[in-house]
Amino acid sequence: MEAVRTNEAGLRRDEWLERLKLFGLGSPAILLILVILVIPVGWLFYVSFIGADGTFSLENYERMLKRKSYARIFQTTFEVSFLTTGLCILIGYPLAYFIAGLPNRIANLCLITVLLPFWTSLLVRTYAWLVLLQKRGLVNEWAISLGLWDEPIKMVHNMTGTLIGMVHIMLPFLILPVYGAMKAIDRDLMKAASNLGASPRRAFWTVFFPLTLPGLFAGSLMVFILCLGFFVTPAVLGGGKVIMVSMKIVSNIELFVNWGAASALGVVLLVSTMVILWIASRFLNLEKMTGGGH
């Protein structure tokens, strides 16, 4: 006997309408991304293959390969990004660990403090570091008056200053996901490890740390990728001695009005970022394999 199927068409239409409405909610953002991201990046890609004479050419990329200065710029960019990420891990992980161990109310207060820098302009923070770290700045004056060192130490307009500024700005991006991962760990797991015979140190390295790895990966990746395209801080605190890809792009456009060269740099930066993301995403699949999080 055939089953009675009433209202089938109407119900299907309702389902459709519901999906359409959901799509409608997303459409402004989709449109925005299309207009301000996909089209300009496509144009950038196109321009990078146009030579000085206005025809298709690879000269922009060839120049990058031939000139030593470009290699150095990419090397500096990756060096700064690696070091910043590394320092953020060294400073941020213990801090997140400390905050995760606090009672909730105090922990929330600490997190607000961690996020506080986000509420001030990037430029203001960067210039603040310049004021603090310069030759006659607060840090040098205090250190000398306290007798820590005799001569003013050069802390800005070099790699040191750049790293100090970058780490300060990037730290929250690392701390938040790591803190989240730590908070998600069932406290009984550490008790179980201890009960089964693990010293506190063993329990940390065999249970706690592996379970925070997904958060650490996510945070480090975010910091690293943000660093790759960073401009303001290295420009101000590097004092022209730390030249990163973003700064070369700006000078290509502002000084030489060479859109082709600038675009090619942008493309290489974009592609290398995507390659890193792709490699990292393979690592992040570990998260599923190891059952990290819940």
Binding site: K191, N195, G197, G291
Partner: protein, 362 residues
């Protein structure tokens, strides 16, 4: 540590007190657990039973007291050096390790050779009927399977003491009943001294050699399941273990009197200022033909009758308004006609079921 000639160890808790601010989580608790015994700490939430278990495991540091495993004083020994097995309410399985990784973890820490680890892990998994599950990930297991892995991990290093913190509370009833029997068999097979925490009185009665009823940080009574049920020390224990109704009774010379009528009772009443008559619903006999000989008779009126399939529940009011609950089997005359609400009945209580307990607030 790895030899199989391990004897179970007795546990001796002496005068242990733990306060959180003004609250006594444990109030001068002393408890002797015999070697090889299955002892259950039973109590409502917040009674201190879990705190006591955490003191045994070393996760909670008491204010004062002594704790011995065998002859060894361990009150100041950190948890990782106590060498006791434990299962957690949340199972606490390591999500980043496989089943075999979890079970092998304590052996790895004890530097057991790899080949031996594999063999012992497999043996432990066999014991909990999870043979061949070693390569599974934890999130691929059902609740019951996780429970078994937790047990395997707790016994694989052959501790002489096993602590279990409400291990079955997250399982559904059917599985829980099955696991109760299984854990009991496991205990008989391995013979380690086991301290088991639960708030489920039926679970405690089913599994334990002895039960310690805990409330307000004190041990109210420590007895075998049968003694606990038949001869509770006070109203709290009687109330917590099984259902019961209480009637105030008074002492007149050598006899105990309820509502002007002397009671027949087999066991002597406790030395206490006030006495209560404890009535278990299943011990009351319903008589629809008036008072009987040789038993205590109570005239009552049925106020509520509930049909429950295998049995029926009857609420009856005595002359003074006190309520008695009776559970009767669906058998004989009751099958054809249950008492009607308002019907005058006689409730009979045999002298051996007439239990007098201390009525003071415990």
């Amino acid at each position: 540590m790895t030899s199989r000639t391990n004897e179970a160890l007795p546990i001796s808790v002496r005068n242990v007190t733990k306060t959180y601010g003004p609250v006594h989580a444990l109030n001068d608790v002393s408890l002797e657990v015999r070697s090889g015994e299955f002892l259950t700490l039973l109590g409502p939430s917040g009674s201190g039973k879990t705190t006591l278990l955490m003191v045994l495991a070393g996760f909670t540091r008491p204010d004062c007291g002594s704790l011995k495993f065998g002859d060894r004083e361990v009150i100041r020994t950190p948890p990782h050096l106590r060498d006791v097995g434990m299962t957690f309410q949340s199972y606490a399985l390591f999500p980043h390790m496989t089943v075999a990784g979890n079970v092998g973890y304590p052996l790895k820490l004890r530097k057991v050779p790899k080949a031996e680890i594999a063999a012992r892990v497999e043996a432990a998994l066999d014991t909990v009927q999870l043979g061949g599950f070693g390569a599974r990930r934890i999130d691929q297991l059902s609740g019951g399977q996780r429970q078994r892995v937790a047990v395997a991990r707790a016994i694989v290093f052959e501790p002489r003491i096993l602590l279990m913190d409400e291990p079955l509370s997250a399982l559904d009833k059917k599985l829980r009943d099955q696991m109760q029997i299984e854990l009991r068999h496991l205990h008989e097979k391995l013979g380690m001294t086991t301290v088991y925490v639960t708030h489920d009185q039926r679970e405690a009665l089913t599994m334990s050699d002895r039960i310690a009823v805990v409330n307000h940080g004190r041990i109210m009574q420590l007895a075998t399941p049968r003694d606990l049920y038949e001869r509770p020390a006070n109203r709290f224990v009687a109330d917590f273990i099984g259902e019961s109704t209480f009637l105030p009774v008074s002492r007149q010379g050598d006899t105990v009197v309820f509502d002007g009528t002397p009671l027949m009772h087999d066991s002597p009443p406790p030395e206490a200022a006030s006495l209560l008559l404890m009535i278990r619903p299943e011990r009351v006999v319903l008589s629809r033909e008036g008072p009987r000989e040789g038993v205590n008779n109570f005239a009552a009126t049925a106020t509520e009758v509930v049909y429950q399939g295998d049995s029926f529940l009857l609420h009856a009011a005595l002359a003074d308004g006190a309520q008695i609950v009776l559970r009767g089997a669906m058998r004989g005359a009751n099958v054809t006609a249950l008492p009607a609400v308002g019907e005058a009945l006689t409730l009979c209580l045999a002298p051996e079921d007439t239990v007098l307990i201390d009525g003071g607030e415990a």
